[in-house]
């Protein structure tokens, strides 16, 4: 086994958080090496000819390869776990840039209240309002601390949006650098209907450029072509912001950042005193290497980071790094991300195959921070969105006909006629709701199932709780009202949430499992993602979230990483192996 020259930082994963740290730390003269599971790839030529819905959407060409590793799931600790054998509930990516290549680019900040959820609920409604069995925690970082980092990230990537359009939104120190993308027809129908009902709809904020933009690094990028092949694809014109458009070039330009692709990390090495000493990895030729490093950063997907901590059992960390007090895997949360409300508008060409997942309207009236829960039987809430673009036939025609059509058969002449009449004339409404942590909702290593390399798979124990069902009922009734106001001739509007399942795609927003907190008894890391029991290991990304908010995680993940990068550069390297205050 070859031992590579020692570096200052090794990151496990070559995605967005790695690139941000590579840029910030590389600029300060620290050598950073990223070990990336998947291949290298760039817009040109990699994404130039990829408009193939079967390969990229239906078959998940850019995702982690389930032939080798997957995740197991069970609804509760008393049930058996089984592996997710084919993609369903979420789509973690692999390859240079990680999920930052195939993301939808819905770009939201969390609300100030989200960062002090427990305190704000207790202050306003009393402790008894918290759901039974919950482990809701305040974040150790506030919105005000993160606000400058949100702003920096949004300007670095050229975010698109209208800062004045959402009167209920979190405060901002600067507007968006670019105007919103052009929304689709359904956006207008939703705008009118929701406004008539007294809500406050507004155009989406997006990580996709609505016009050409020269970013602060000097990269010149094109605006969006509305091509309709966006989520689960790489963008051929770099209009969709990604690590490749922005932070990887910045990191490489420092001369101190290197990515080794097609390489799989086996675990974090630890010395007898409990500090990390680097990682071992296997390259694409099957050769094992040791990469010694002063600092190890977990910069993979949420679930990858948690599994890597649990698999790294060296030295005194017999249950895994960060797990000396049994906190790894706790506060696993997800997100309500369902769109069962459909309406048919006969004769209209809605043309939802154009555009992307941000060419639409949102409303935040039902987000937890904007609701008075005094007379409600739940906490939290949800965003509501109008129809996304990028509708492809491969993944949508199977869902027709709309309930109540003809003889109800999902095959035969009924199906064919419905596809002809309904496919381009059907709009849907979507909700994105927050997810609370509970004691019976967690991640650990599966006792039975293994990856093809012999290491245990990560096991998810997760199901909806009563708060989720109640929140859904409340939001569903209002969404149905909006859909009715839009005036379809057929409407499909279930009022009850189904129990969680792993085969239906919901969102790639699993969060928690290595959360940040105020002390080692309630968390795995401090506010900088620095692991309490192994201070030269840092966790990045959504594994740090104590619970998930009703918003996509990327803006918050990036803001936290900017903060981490500054702190590691300015504080950590001045006083290595010490916990930062």
């Amino acid at each position: 086994m070859a031992v590579k020259p020692r570096v200052n930082v090794v990151t496990i994963g070559g995605g967005w958080t790695s690139a941000i740290l590579g840029w910030k730390l590389g600029e300060a003269g620290h050598k950073v090496v990223a070990i990336e599971l998947g291949p290298g790839r760039w817009a040109n030529p990699g994404f130039q000819h990829n408009h193939d819905g079967l390969r990229f959407h239906a078959r998940h060409a850019m995702m982690i390869n389930l032939r080798n590793e997957t995740w197991t799931w069970r609804p509760n600790p008393d049930s058996p776990s089984l592996p997710m054998r084919q993609y369903g509930t979420f789509n973690p990516g692999q390859g240079l840039g990680g999920a930052g290549i195939h993301w939808t680019a819905q770009l939201w900040r969390f609300y100030p209240q989200d960062f002090r959820l427990r305190s704000s609920i207790i202050e306003r409604y009393g402790e008894e309002k918290l759901p039974e069995g919950n482990t809701i925690q305040d974040w150790p970082v506030s919105y005000d601390e993160l606000e400058p980092y949100y702003t920096q990230f949004e300007w670095d990537i050229g975010a698109s949006g209208d800062a004045d359009a959402n009167p209920l939104g979190p405060p901002r120190s600067r507007p968006y650098p670019n105007p919103p993308l052009q929304h689709n027809i359904v956006g207008d129908m939703f705008l009118e209907a929701a406004t008539q009902l007294g809500y406050h709809p507004f155009p989406f904020s997006s990580g996709i450029l609505s016009q050409s933009y020269t970013d602060p690094f000097g990269n010149v990028r094109s605006g969006c072509l509305y091509c309709g092949f966006c989520t689960r694809y790489g963008c051929e014109v770099d209009a969709k912001s990604s690590p490749q458009t922005t932070h990887i070039p910045a990191a490489l330009n420092t001369g101190n950042y290197e990515v080794r692709t097609r390489s799989r990390v086996l675990g974090i090495n630890v010395d007898d005193s409990g500090y990390a000493t680097g990682v071992n990895y296997v390259d694409e030729n099957g050769e094992e290497h040791e990469q010694p490093a002063d600092v190890v950063v977990l910069s993979g997907f949420t679930l990858t980071n948690v599994r890597m901590l649990l698999l790294s059992r060296g030295g005194p960390h017999g249950d895994g790094i960060g797990n000396d007090r049994g906190r790894v895997g706790k506060n696993y949360t997800y997100q309500h991300f369902v769109s069962p409300w459909r309406g048919h508008f006969p004769g209209k060409n809605l043309n939802l195959y154009m555009g992307n997942g941000t060419t639409m309207m949102a409303m935040h009236d039902l987000v937890g921070a904007n609701l008075d829960h005094s007379d409600l039987d739940f906490i939290g809430g949800a965003q509501v969105w109008s129809s996304s673009g990028e509708r492809d036939p491969e993944t949508t025609v199977g869902g027709f006909p709309i309930e109540g059509t003809g003889d109800g058969r999902k095959w035969g002449q009924t199906w064919k006629d419905a596809l002809r009449d309904q496919w381009n004339s059907t709009a849907d409404l979507i909700m994105e709701g927050d997810s609370m942590p509970y004691v019976d909702q967690f991640l650990d290593l599966d006792p039975v199932y293994r990856a093809t390399d012999g290491q245990p798979l990560l096991r998810l124990t997760f199901d909806w709780h009563e708060n989720d069902y109640a929140m859904y009922r409340y939001v569903a009734e209002r969404v149905k009202g909006i859909m009715e106001q839009m005036g379809p001739d057929l409407i499909e509007a279930p009022t009850e949430l189904d129990p969680y399942n792993v085969h239906q795609y919901q969102s790639t927003h699993p969060t928690g499992g290595a959360i940040m907190g105020s002390d080692p008894d309630n968390s795995v890391t401090n506010k900088y993602g620095q692991v309490w029991d192994t201070p030269n290991v840092f966790v990045t990304g959504a594994a740090l979230f104590p619970q998930n908010a009703a918003a996509n995680p990327t803006d918050t993940v990036a803001a936290i990483t900017y903060m981490q990068g500054d702190a590691i550069r300015d504080q950590y390297f001045a006083n290595e192996r010490k916990l930062m205050a």
């Binding site: 032939r67 060419t359 491969e394």
Partner: protein, 286 residues
């Protein structure tokens, strides 16, 4: 288009004379998660199906999406060619699929005694819960079709005393309906549910995926629903127009991307020769 995928596919050619179907080593796919469309599709011969199997698939899928030369359905779209090509080019699943044991076994009532000692041979799951876990079969698509088609014919014989292909369309609809409603006792492994899910999904792909995969001939599926296929882009004005969809265009017709050309103007990017209409900037958009 060829590249790594082409080499990979060659190593996976399926031998139709081989009656033994085993789960293949798929570690090749670590680098190439999902193969690209095949370089070519041979419509003149079957690669996986035996002739009578192909006839059953064709008749069956033609009941899922009926058609005629004037109003094409699954038959006219070449759905059977799509499925046969898919089964020939890749042994196992095109999409990343975890096929490691143990597999699930369902029960009703109280759990069987073996369920308690964490058997590593089988994992016992309550029948009412199994659907929440998604796909849990040990079968690969070649097995699902080979064995499932036998169950289709067995059901046809049970109900009507003849093979599926020899039934009237009404009788065929009754068989298809029974399978769709999971009321088909001749199925065992694959279950009627799994067979139905597989053949319906493949009918979707054969009718509506890019023609490069062997189905959707002349893009008849896309014309049916009003999907323009692989386009380079649309303008903000297109986003708001509500106009009828453009004529469709396939991946092969998609104009090569001219990297470095200014694309940030208010026009549709160069599109294929097959679609001259879209090379013009409509007067309303100038």
């Amino acid at each position: 288009m060829a590249g790594v995928g082409g080499g990979v596919l060659l190593g996976c050619e399926f031998d139709p004379n081989d009656t033994e179907i085993t789960i293949p080593d798929q570690t090749w796919a670590y680098a190439e998660n999902v193969p690209p469309p095949p370089d070519s599709v041979d419509r003149s011969r079957l690669g996986f199906f035996k002739p009578d199997e192909a006839a059953t698939v064709e008749a069956f899928t033609a009941r899922l999406i009926p058609g005629s030369p004037d109003d094409p359905g699954a038959r006219e779209a070449g759905v059977t060619t799509y499925i046969d090509t898919a089964l020939t080019k890749v042994v196992g699943y095109w999409e990343p699929t975890y096929l490691e044991p143990p597999f699930a076994e369902t029960y009703t009532g109280s759990p069987p005694p073996e369920a308690d000692n964490s058997s590593i041979e089988r994992i016992f799951v309550q029948k009412s819960e199994i659907d929440r876990y998604g796909f849990q079969s040990s079968l690969i698509p070649q097995e699902i079709y080979r064995m499932g088609l036998r169950s289709v014919d067995a059901l046809a014989r049970d109900r009507f005393g003849a093979r599926f292909t020899d039934l009237s369309e009404d009788q065929q609809d009754e068989i298809v309906g029974a399978i769709a409603d999971d009321d088909a006792p001749t199925f065992d492994d694959p279950s009627a549910k799994l067979f139905w899910k597989t053949i319906r999904q493949d009918t979707v792909y054969g009718m509506f995926a890019d023609p490069a995969y062997g189905g959707n001939v002349d893009m008849v599926g896309w014309k049916l629903i009003g999907y323009p296929g692989a386009q380079r882009g649309y303008t903000p004005i297109d986003m708001q127009s509500g106009d009828a969809p453009r004529p469709p265009q396939s991946l092969a017709q998609l104009h090569a991307f001219n990297a470095g050309v200014d694309v940030n103007c208010d026009i549709v990017l160069p599109v294929s020769d097959s679609d001259p209409e879209n090379q013009q900037i409509p007067a309303s958009r100038k």
